[in-house]
């Protein structure tokens, strides 16, 4: 496994896997692909696919689904199907200490932060030297929605700093902001002069100037760095700082994923975040909003760690994962001893806190993964009034002639208005074709139900648990995948296909 797998554009490994698979006979993908011509026919079929109540054609090779030679059952807990185990006091209860497929001896699993880069380093005199540059950044949080925020090295949140316990590190911070700043290494027990707590411990770094932080790392776990100017923090100046332990955390995980939850207030028709607001209308995970957040794609049966860090200025987030019960195995301060791990479905992650979730991905499917605050499940809540909730009215009629109003019927003729409280469901969602194209133009979302982007908004992403063959099709091939095909295949294998209805197509040009 490598961090590349989560990035749609770094396709070297995928190309290697794909060509070797094709060389091996091409049978791996079953009915999906064979030749280019077949793929072409398939692609044409996709655009106007309507399955009605039927499932799309089978996809993948169910027989290749489970890696061989691995233990499945742990005291009644199965890594391949939803299960609890026989005894809450068992060390395998809810998959608590069930190891991943990865060998402990292979060292820690690579840490992956979807949609964020890692900060490169070089060895200088036995010290890992990083160069961190606080700067103004433009971040595209949704296709076409660019935010003006502060970040580091061209990114908001900043690139991930990844080190090992016992390293000596040097971080040269060069301020490219138009104002003073400092860098604080949140949670580290370091010499006071490098704490970065602005005037308390150092003079601020002037624009254009550098400051060198250098200290030994004796901690391990989930940390982060941020500016110690409060409004710069509210404006996005933060990044992950992950310290891998010398003794690999046990049980070993297959996936180590990092998500930074943030929110901002941005006026309509505005791109500059307002760091002074007390309310927040834009929600981001690793600098993107749902449905532009990149799904976390894992293989069926893997042990997964997700480290969530809440860097919202004013809001705590109760974070909920569907379909799984996870263990709280660490906070930003430290790894928690096994005896104190807590199983949960929802965990409140407070401001400036980080929490590590670990679980066995034993339930295949596309699972909602979100902050449970209703107002965080979308960006910029707006009231349900106006043309959007009126039958036969559209904003376009207003836009067609700005000098005249198209007028309105004096009572909303929608019979729903006879029911107090109607409507509560968000009406008239419009997603533009080029927006949808960008959403769908990522491997991580291939084969999801056609309507999925309508439900993943704001502080939301998707945990995709895929059987090995489907994982390979989605993540390690470039083949087109019919909308809904992967999901339908999971229903076929693990659910009740006779009950399944495929999603209506949203629009033709959306693939």
């Amino acid at each position: 496994m490598s961090q590349h797998e989560s990035k749609p554009n770094s396709s070297e490994r995928r190309r290697f896997l794909k060509t070797s698979a094709l060389a091996a006979g091409g049978a791996l993908y079953g009915g999906l692909v064979g030749t280019n011509a077949a793929a072409q026919v398939h692609a044409n079929k996709m655009t106007d696919m309507q399955h009605g109540d039927k499932l799309p054609a089978p996809l993948g090779n169910p027989k290749s689904g489970r890696p061989a030679g691995y233990r499945d059952d742990y005291d009644g807990f199965s890594r391949f199907k939803p299960s609890r185990g026989n005894d809450p006091n068992s060390e395998f209860y809810l998959g608590k200490l069930v190891p991943g497929f990865r060998d402990v001896g292979a060292g820690p699993a690579p840490f992956v932060t979807p949609d964020l880069e890692k900060l490169p380093w070089k060895m200088v005199g036995g010290v890992k030297e990083f160069h961190l540059v606080p700067m103004a950044v433009e971040r595209e949080v949704l296709p076409g929605y660019k935010l003006n925020v502060y970040g580091y090295n061209g990114s908001m949140p900043g690139p991930t700093i990844e080190v090992n316990q016992g390293d000596r590190i040097r971080i040269v911070v060069t301020n490219e902001l138009p104002e003073d700043t400092s860098a604080h290494w949140h949670g580290f027990e370091l010499p006071i002069q490098y704490d970065g707590a602005s005037e308390l411990t150092q003079n601020l770094i002037k624009p254009g100037k550098s400051f060198v932080y250098e200290f030994d790392i004796h901690e391990e776990g989930t940390f982060f760095y941020h500016s110690h100017i409060p409004m710069q923090e509210a404006f996005g100046s933060v990044g992950f700082m992950i310290v891998h332990p010398q003794k690999v955390f046990d049980p070993p995980v297959d996936r180590d994923l990092g998500l930074i939850f943030q929110n901002f207030f941005i006026e309509p028709s505005q791109s500059i975040a307002d760091s002074w607001r007390m309310d927040w209308n834009w929600q981001t995970i690793n600098g993107r909003s749902g449905p532009y957040t990149t799904p976390l794609v894992v293989k069926h049966g893997e042990r997964v760690r997700i480290r969530i860090m809440n860097f919202s200025p004013m809001q705590h987030h109760p974070i909920h994962i569907h379909g799984h019960t996870f263990w709280i195995t660490g906070h930003e301060g430290a790894r928690i001893p096994h005896s104190a791990w807590v199983p949960r479905n929802t965990e409140l992650v407070g401001i400036a806190q980080a929490t590590d979730f670990e679980f066995i991905a034993n339930n295949p499917g596309d699972w909602m993964f979100h902050c449970h605050m209703v107002h965080h499940m979308m960006n910029h809540m707006t009231r349900q009034v106006g043309p959007r909730v009126r039958p036969d009215q559209s904003v376009d009629a207003y836009l067609a002639n700005l000098d005249q109003s198209p007028g309105v019927k004096l009572l909303n003729p929608d019979p729903g208005f006879k029911t107090p409280g109607y409507p509560q469901e968000m009406k008239g969602m419009e997603m533009k074709p080029d927006f949808m194209k960008r959403i769908w133009n990522r491997r991580e979302v291939q084969g999801m139900r056609a309507m999925w982007p309508m439900s993943v908004m704001g502080l939301m992403t998707v945990l995709r648990v895929l059987p090995d063959d489907l994982y390979q099709i989605v993540m390690e091939s470039d083949q087109p995948v019919e909308k809904g095909a992967v999901f339908a295949e999971i229903v076929r294998r693990f659910g009740n296909p006779s009950d399944y209805k495929s999603a209506p197509m949203m629009m033709h040009d959306m693939s």
């Binding site: 028709s269 836009l399 109003s405 004096l410 208005f417 409280g421």
Partner: protein, 384 residues
């Protein structure tokens, strides 16, 4: 003008000869001792010979008065035309205002529906719904008032044109197409071309002629009479002859001359007064004109486009679920409301522009002013 020309003709006419029959001393005894029908019976012709060029001067005076009338007539023409122009624009503005008001009712209706919709999701309460209804009723009243104003403007226009017009539409543009004049330009134009000023100047020439005319009034006309008849006493035909003239011993027309000179002097001041009065009125009208133009231009170039862009951006934001509909309605209302103001600006600028280009003349339904100011010497039955 025709009256003055008539007067000029009349004043220049030479006096008619007087034919008379005379009988003198009827009943005088003749040589036979009997009474005769008179000493003299016969016809006499009398002719007044006008001296001092009185007739020529009188005619000249009235011809000059005709020129004053000509200028006053032109002024009156401008008054009428300017009135028609201004009221045409008023009618046009009333029509524009009416259509904008009708749009604003739709905004208010939309707000009322929006209030109901908000009520149903618990985001507004009863009083808020009622207030939205009140705003709607007020907008409807505004439309009625705008309709009434339009009808009145149309009727006034019809009256000014002097022809009954059936109610309908007026077509045209409120926007000015004339270049903006500087105050000096406008004032210079008034000094050079104002019919009021031209009339005042022509009136000075009249008063000059009047002085000349009154100066010769005392020069005595010579009245010569002669005739023939029969003298019943002498029983022979005889002739009569006579010459008469005033001896200007006491009345040398001094008073009237003085009055005419006073009129002349007054008229010289009057020209200056008219110039000052025009400048004074221009000063006020020009500032209103300039203010109107500046407002109209700023509204056209900045304010309206900005409000329209704000409205469009909010509509687009609403489409993307980024703003609430009441925010959009507020922007729509602001934009429509500014368009109302712009109609006012344009009408204001246009009205003042008509006045400036039309020599500040208006109120064409008032009687045209007379040539002479009240109390002016103009009192001789035979024009002189």
């Amino acid at each position: 003008m025709s009256a003055e020309l008539g007067k000029a003709l009349q004043a220049g006419l030479y006096p008619n000869p007087v034919l008379s029959y005379e009988a003198e001393q009827i009943g005088v005894d003749g040589p036979s001792g009997t009474s005769t029908p008179g000493e003299f019976q016969g016809g006499v012709v009398e002719q007044r010979f006008v001296t001092g060029g009185k007739l020529r001067l009188s005619r000249e005076k009235y011809l000059r008065r005709a020129r004053v009338s000509e200028n006053l007539a032109m002024a009156q023409q401008f008054r009428v035309c300017n009135d028609v122009r201004i009221h045409f624009y008023k009618t046009l503005a009333a029509s524009d205002i009416l259509s904008i008001r009708r749009e604003m009712v739709k905004t208010a209706e939309d707000s009322a529906v929006t209030a109901q919709e908000s009520y149903n999701v618990g985001q507004s309460n009863r009083p808020q719904v009622r207030r939205a209804n009140v705003v709607l009723q007020r907008a409807r009243l505004d439309v009625l008032a705008a309709e009434n104003a339009y009808n009145q403007a149309f009727r006034t226009l019809s009256t000014l044109v002097g022809v009954p017009l059936c109610m309908g539409m007026v077509e045209g543009a409120l926007e000015s197409t004339c270049p903006v004049m500087s105050f000096e330009e406008a004032y210079g134009r008034l000094l050079a071309e104002s019919p009021q000023l031209a009339a005042a100047r022509a009136k000075l020439a009249v008063d000059q002629a009047t002085v000349a005319r009154e100066n010769v009034q005392w020069v005595p006309d010579i009245v010569v009479r002669g005739g023939a008849g029969y003298n019943f006493e002498a029983e022979e035909t005889t002739a009569v002859a006579g010459v008469a003239f005033d001896v200007p011993l006491f009345d040398r027309n001094q008073g009237t001359v003085r009055q005419a000179q006073a009129d002349y002097a007054r008229q010289r001041q009057e020209i200056e007064r008219v110039e000052l009065e025009l400048r004074n009125r221009l000063a006020m009208i020009y500032q209103q004109y300039l203010t109107g133009m500046q407002h109209a231009q700023e509204y056209a170039e900045v304010i309206l486009p900005e409000l329209k862009a704000a409205y469009r951006e909010l509509l687009e934001s609403y489409k993307e679920r980024r703003v609430d509909w009441p925010d959009v309605l507020m922007a729509q209302h602001d934009y429509f409301d500014a368009r109302l103001t712009q109609v006012d600006n344009l009408l204001h600028a246009r009205t003042q522009e008509v006045l400036i280009y039309g020599y500040l003349l208006h109120d064409g339904l008032m009687a045209a002013p007379d040539i002479t100011p009240p109390g002016h010497i103009d009192s001789v039955p035979k024009p002189r």
